[in-house]
């Protein structure tokens, strides 16, 4: 593999893993606080799946540069994380959490469907594996968007407020990394603009069917994944606290 391709691919795996890891943590914050027991369990499952996917992506990175996934997850500073800002925003209310998960699930399903054809076999294999699990997420969150959008005045208002806030942030999912173009040229990763077309097709239809309006003013759209909101720092402080306190985890 050419050095510039390898470098770009390491960066891509890091971004993919960080998206999953950070979202997983935000979802996991609901454990024990879900609106009903079934939903508590469902979201904990989704969080666990996303954590598993982060492990897969960091495992692929490890094959390229020998890095240790645990070290990257639990001992890396916030300035080195490459997740999209959408995923680090505080969990908000149930509508906020479900909408974010839905918008991300559609993006992930569309990206993975295309990535199954990657010319880099380990990535194609991982995409096929992860996609099977993602379908359950999308089925679940899609139903929640509909339920809250078409539910009561209150649930619709909350869902609409979440959409107004998140719509601009979601656009960052389709901003390529600095050298991602090299990977696209080699057919290693899908072209994000094609993924976005698919994403828009699905989300705009479903949101409208759920009586939600796409915001006219798209709002803040983050660009580079090298900067973050102030929320990432505190998220990591909590997520990494145990590992940093006792790296060997030998004391109970």
């Amino acid at each position: 593999m050419k050095p510039e391709v390898k470098k770009a691919l390491i960066a891509k795996f890091t971004a993919l893993a960080d998206d999953e890891l950070v979202l997983s943590h935000r979802d996991a914050e609901w454990t024990g606080h879900g609106p009903i027991l079934e939903e508590d369990i469902a979201l904990a499952n989704i969080a666990q799946d996303e954590l598993g996917h982060a492990t897969v992506w960091l495992g692929l990175r490890k094959e390229l540069d020998g890095s240790d996934p645990d070290q990257l997850a639990f001992f890396r500073d916030s300035t080195k994380f490459r997740n999209a800002e959408l995923l680090e925003l505080p969990r908000g209310d149930w509508a906020f959490t479900m909408l974010r998960q839905y918008l991300f699930d559609v993006y992930e399903a569309a990206w993975l469907s295309a990535a199954k054809a990657s010319s880099y076999q380990p990535l194609a294999d991982a995409a096929a594996k992860i996609l099977r699990e993602e379908r359950f997420h999308l089925q679940h969150t899609q139903a929640w968007v509909e339920r809250l959008g078409l539910g009561t005045e209150e649930s619709n208002r909350r869902m609409q407020a979440a959409l107004n806030m998140q719509w601009g942030y979601t656009q960052q999912l389709f901003v390529p990394l600095q050298d991602e173009e090299i990977l696209v040229r080699e057919n290693i990763v899908p072209d994000l603009s094609a993924v976005k077309t698919k994403w828009l097709e699905h989300t705009t239809r479903h949101l409208r069917d759920s009586r939600l309006e796409l915001p006219l003013n798209i709002g803040y759209q983050p660009g580079s994944r090298e900067t973050h909101t102030e929320h990432l720092w505190s998220l990591l402080a909590e997520m990494q606290s145990v590992a940093r306190w006792d790296a060997e985890a030998k004391v109970w």
Binding site: E38, I41, A44, H53, V56, D125, K129, L131, F136, L138
Partner: protein, 169 residues
């Protein structure tokens, strides 16, 4: 336990498979890792037994426990253990043997329906899940997500019992 067959022979590989078929799935101990389709391959290279396994779900926390159990068993047979984890082909519930399905059913878990070909971004299960207690097809899904990643929660409208079912993937 010490292997009796000549080193590297086909009989020896078979002995390893047999020994590993006594390793239970840590989350569903009535079935073993061989009949669940988790263990994919056994090879012998000199003193080393090379095992290939695949996770059911990529976030499955049992993966490490299974890996350790496999290593312990082959070491007890006098081999050095090397366990490789592969993602491809992705694990499918279609790989669960008929015998294991029967065991799941007796344990109170509805075995998975045949996995559907991938269609679109989401997949809905079309065939109804059968109640493992009374056998009725009149059941409803209560939660696509259950106590473990691989199961969903249902309720039987006939005997009114809740039950778990293996997700078809």
């Amino acid at each position: 336990m010490v292997s009796l067959s000549p080193k590297g022979s086909r009989a020896e590989v078979r002995e390893i498979w047999e020994a590993l078929s006594r390793v239970p799935d840590p989350e569903i101990p009535v079935v073993n890792v061989v009949e669940m389709g988790i263990l994919r391959e056994v090879r012998i290279d000199g003193d080393k037994a090379i095992l290939t396994m695949t996770p059911t779900f990529s976030g499955c926390p049992a993966l490490h426990a299974i890996r350790e159990s496999l290593e312990t068993v082959v070491r007890a047979l006098g081999f050095e253990a090397q366990v490789q984890i592969v993602l491809s082909p992705p694990w499918s519930t279609d790989w669960i043997t008929a015998e294991a399905r029967e065991k799941l059913l007796r344990y109170g878990i509805a075995p998975p329906n045949p996995a559907l070909a991938e269609a679109g971004l989401i997949q809905l299960e079309l065939s109804p899940t059968r109640c493992p207690r009374c056998g009725s097809f009149d059941t409803s899904v209560k939660n696509t997500f259950g106590p473990t990643l691989c199961k969903s929660i249902h309720v039987c409208n006939n005997c009114l019992e809740p039950f778990e079912s293996f997700k078809a993937v």
